[in-house]
Symmetry: C2
Subunit: 378 residues, 2 copies
Amino acid sequence: MNNNRHMALSGHRIEIDYIVTGDEKQAREKMAHISVEQTIEFPADLVSQQWIKEEIVGRLEQVTPMADGRFAARVSYAAEVAGGELGQLLNLIYGNISLVPGVEVNDVQLPSALLNNFFGPRFGMAGLRSLLGVAERPLLCTALKPMGLGAQELGQMAYRFARGGIDIIKDDHGLADQPFCPFHDRVARASEAVAKANTETGKRCLYAPMVSGPDDSVWERIRFAKSMGAGALVVAPGLAGFDLMARIASSPEIDLPLLAHPSFLGGPLVARPRGISHGLLLGTLMRLAGADCTIFPSFGGRFSFTPDECTEIAYACRRPLGHIKAIFPGPAGGMSVERAAELTDFYGRDVVLLVGGDLHRRSPDLTANALDLLRSVL
Amino acid sequence: MNNNRHMALSGHRIEIDYIVTGDEKQAREKMAHISVEQTIEFPADLVSQQWIKEEIVGRLEQVTPMADGRFAARVSYAAEVAGGELGQLLNLIYGNISLVPGVEVNDVQLPSALLNNFFGPRFGMAGLRSLLGVAERPLLCTALKPMGLGAQELGQMAYRFARGGIDIIKDDHGLADQPFCPFHDRVARASEAVAKANTETGKRCLYAPMVSGPDDSVWERIRFAKSMGAGALVVAPGLAGFDLMARIASSPEIDLPLLAHPSFLGGPLVARPRGISHGLLLGTLMRLAGADCTIFPSFGGRFSFTPDECTEIAYACRRPLGHIKAIFPGPAGGMSVERAAELTDFYGRDVVLLVGGDLHRRSPDLTANALDLLRSVL
């Protein structure tokens, strides 16, 4: 199988688009450095093998001046450099380059021969809509919080939100296995609460616990969540690893949609200039690694992403990417019921709207507040 | 066991030091935001439970003006928030805050009750020196490269370096399982080459393959490397996950020292202002997650870290950290034989000097070049 995988890559190229600062000469020098740094990491003049120089070292395809004075550069790499593995592909895209200032990794074009090695999201937009039985409107998501509440209280909260028509009720990403709210208690209570609400409403609300944990705990927790009837999972690949998320996504035993959380990954995005584009990191890479929805802090909330940066993520979620399914952008981080219509206009109806605190602020009746949110997107 | 872990945390605080931009009022507002964002992620005015407000939300301990006009702030968090797990501790330290511009997470003080949950590095400085039988001098490391060479060629290269007295011969971090150099072939060839050299020299050079891979491949590869006689492993926790590295470190079955590579993690470090300090990310967190040596691009090479940033990493490697062993800083990224003495002066003798390309540039005789390096540190 390895041989087949390897042979299929032969002759294909991975194209990576960079944006670099400096004048054209500096930009070209930087690109020469990058094309070596991301591959052979070796003095190019000491390489005697012609095929390594020609095929392994990245090939500068073009350098184009941009309106803002920076330069757009495209470098192509032999698909074999990634070897058909996600980890090494991430290494090629943003490995050592993450350590080089003044370079943004902007986008990537991957040949089908390489994409065929990746399972991607199990459900994608269509699959998740089908699971939920929601054909057209934006999907609604909220989070169980604040941290500090017990499993019983969070279960009751989940019940109220599920009664109000929320589609996906996720753990806040800071909920792990703390003494005040142990993982197994919380997942049992919230799963049974959502199941009860679903029986009453006839809907198919999904509860999505945050799965993390040391050693083999993470798999034990995932299997426990599955056995309790959790309908989805939240994973933070910046903490847990992109390969772990991909492995969960591709597991027929688990067979659950995944919400990806950007924890630990924001550094290069809030830097100026940024180190990697929002669309590539939180869109394309999350999608390749199996997320069915990528959660990110939307413009207009508590964080600083711009509308353009958010558009980039949404675009990367849905544009063609070989056989890899389109996924939902999940704008979050201070969204509100009032802004649901505006956000739907902005992102389109294929979106997961994550409204947290505002569903508590409107009134003490969480079910009524959730129904307000639902009405605002019908 | 969970109950014991949880009870032991009660009453202890995690202290995190931040550096924030703006005037004092803005700094205080930003800190109020952070202490909520990293814990309850919920409108603080809507929290009715006094104990959540007092114990779960971070507590601003002090705000101090710095000479450069920024403010140093210390926030303490209940140790229970981390729940005794590495992933959630990383989440607390640099989760959502990674998405907030203008804040640097500078340092952390962890109570022993929390540290006791972490295995840390299996060997540490003393253990690695003992494995190698090298009591005092700097340890010498090089990398098998350039990418594109086959297993046979890299094996021969490893043999020559081992004959020349290199202590640790690692895979370049871009070597995964590519068609031109499959993992198993490479590890078999390099392991046997280093074993042969050790028999001839009487030394104990360690070969350290880069371990990565999808699904369960990574564990299969780790076990294969162990069975072939590999003496250490290279892990990139930014790609593979910090928990995976911690799990390898704590495995009695594997029982090998780990070199941590910073791939994918550089974004917040090269940003200005940076998002997290070099010492915290590449020193303390790598150490907590079980690295015996943390590789980083040193000043004066192909990258941009400053001497101060490198000093920070080295300091974080060796300062007291509960029962967690001190580890080696591994300056790399364009080091040379000529600079070995200077680097030893700078970092001290408890260092792993990683010299790559320069060991090829000096002459075609790799063994002689390695011996030059060895002589320069005796």
